[in-house]
């Protein structure tokens, strides 16, 4: 039992550190579009770590099933919300700060 406790603590601590890293990320990155990626960390791996750690704490029960349900729901809804936000910003005319050196690099590389 102690083994499972320690593993779940490791998961929760990792989730907490990832959350703070994402929080620092939205202050480090220069423009809106790159901040989306920092929020992506907290939406994906941080939430996953927390919920898996909590699942280990509750054991096999209705509570852990509900935690899995939150996990599944977040993995459907958070990319949708992020995409809708990026789409609204792009259609709203917000220009991203692109890297000058490589700009346009990828347009003509597709093996279409």
């Amino acid at each position: 039992m102690l083994f499972i406790e320690i593993i779940s603590w490791l998961f929760i601590v990792a989730g907490a550190l990832l959350g703070i890293a994402g929080g620092i990320g939205i202050h480090r990155f220069p423009d809106f579009y790159s901040r989306l990626h920092a929020v992506g960390i907290t939406d994906t791996l941080c939430a996953a770590m927390f919920l898996v750690g909590l699942c280990m704490q509750t054991g096999v029960s209705i509570a852990s099933l509900k935690l899995m349900l939150i996990f599944i729901f977040l993995f459907f809804s958070s990319p949708t919300a992020t995409h809708a936000l990026a789409n609204a910003a792009l259609l709203g005319g917000l220009k991203p700060e692109l890297d000058e050196e490589y700009h346009g690099h990828c347009f003509d590389r597709h093996p279409d």
């Binding site: 890293a21 790159s34 209705i62 792009l90 690099h105 990828c106």
Partner: protein, 164 residues
């Protein structure tokens, strides 16, 4: 009957399973209330024209499971990359915005592909239409990785295409 009966039945079975997971009460009253709720929701969903091939949940097959395992690995790798970039001093990112041509046929495959792009940190899909998906990436490496089509080929292709 507008839609195949098996779509309706599979939606009902999925919802009732969800009810049992949520409720955990196994007495006769709760199970009958769950059945009544399931039937009511399936009726409303049918009235809304929402039960088509896009809502057919029986597609949760082995192909999709393999894709999810692939995606989980991609998410972990991409997270580590973005965290390194956050804590690297000086100029740490080289953002790109470009259009990626799509070869996927059905709507659901394209939605799964775009959501997978958004779920991996470092790449965000900003616009999706029938031929292309506009992607914003944090680094030139992530852009090259997407252009190589590694993730697109992992998406289940025939997912949800109606046999006509």
């Amino acid at each position: 009957m507008k839609y195949p009966v098996k779509h309706i039945i599979s939606l009902g079975v999925l919802l009732f399973t969800l009810w049992l997971c949520l409720s955990g009460q196994l007495n006769a009253l709760m199970i009958s209330l769950g059945l009544a709720s399931t039937i009511a929701i399936v009726a409303i969903t049918h009235r809304m024209d929402c039960i088509d091939h896009e809502t057919y949940p029986a597609h949760m097959n082995l192909l999709l499971l393999r894709f999810w395992l692939f995606l989980a690995r991609e998410i972990v790798v991409a997270n580590i990359d973005v965290i390194k970039r956050i804590f690297k001093p000086g100029k740490n990112i080289s953002p790109q915005l470009f259009e990626l041509p799509l070869t996927l046929k059905s709507d659901v495959s394209r939605v799964i592909y775009a959501n997978a792009i958004t779920l991996t940190p470092g790449t965000v899909s900003a616009n999706l239409d029938r031929k292309t998906v506009t992607v914003h990436t944090l680094s030139i490496e992530a852009a090259q990785d997407l252009s190589s089509g590694r993730m697109a080929s992992a998406v289940p292709e025939d997912y949800g295409v109606v046999k006509r």
